[in-house]
Symmetry: C2
Amino acid sequence: MRISELSERSGIAVATIKYYLREGLLPPGERTGPNQASYGEQHLRRLRLVRALIEIGGLPLATVGEVLTAVDSPDLPMFKLLGVVQDSLTTPPSAASDAEWERAAATVEAEMARRGWDPHPSAPVADTLTSVLVRLAQLGYGDWGETVMPTYFDSARAIAENDVTTALAAGGRGDIVDAVVVMTVLGDTALAAIRRIAQAQVSLELLKNSGESPR
Amino acid sequence: MRISELSERSGIAVATIKYYLREGLLPPGERTGPNQASYGEQHLRRLRLVRALIEIGGLPLATVGEVLTAVDSPDLPMFKLLGVVQDSLTTPPSAASDAEWERAAATVEAEMARRGWDPHPSAPVADTLTSVLVRLAQLGYGDWGETVMPTYFDSARAIAENDVTTALAAGGRGDIVDAVVVMTVLGDTALAAIRRIAQAQVSLELLKNSGESPR
């Protein structure tokens, strides 16, 4: 298809597509004339992935380039590919004193070790979790690391099994990355919303049982 | 204690405390002289809650005022109080066509009805979830409403039971609201991080089982 049709089908302006081509985010089309090239379904799919990374993932273009380089490396194991996508979507943790940080990091490590989880590939996200525990401790909720987090770990495991199975079922390598990105980002929002719906339901049930009028 | 000590213990500048007093976010202290007032532990606790709402919840001051009005209404059932806190932390959903929206909303309603959950108190967060499902459908993942969401619902229920029990155990009314705010916001980040750690673990296990080198 010509670039005008690619633009129409993807909903992305021709000027933007040309910019992606210049930046190497989109591979060149097949030359069909001095000023014309032909594009295929793989270009449409790649455009969709770039859009998902920028619009949903909120990634800067340079990071999109890094993710795409990983996607295009045929020798990179799928596992490392998932890591590149995840790390690019991870927010860097905030600062804390050494003692606070070490205490929180020990809680995270203990929780993973107790489950036999490999601490190696989770380093960047584990730091995010550690910084949440630091903040909790600073706000006076230091015990939540032991009381609340185990349930989060168990539930997250069930969710992750579903996530990974669904993403791997998406098909080829580009499709999987697309699915991982969409699932990671939209899944966060979905899970947060469902958790709040469930919180409302649980408190409603508790209050009904306690005899207090729910509304 | 005097306002200078209140400032020291809370880490909030005297000028900011005076601003909160003028805006009615902090109740006045007990007058001890023409230009002096005495503040108690309840002022310190209230300051901490205001800070959590602003810094962690990212709420504008007007919304903080609404939440505090709910906290200070002794006749408001606990259940409604939780709703006010949750709704103040909910992002409004994005736009979608009527047909897309109704399809997604029907999926959310069906999932809740299947579990016997009361759809009534969850309206604003249910809209957030509906907008995620709309976006998923627009990206070609419309079937995730049926394949992925049920696990999210089951896991969120387990998490929410833990959340609510822990928050209610926090003590008095102000403490519970403080705990709900902190748990809602920091819980989102913690859960997102743990989910990613679990995704890494699950994909590592899958790849080990499939014989592919994990690294």
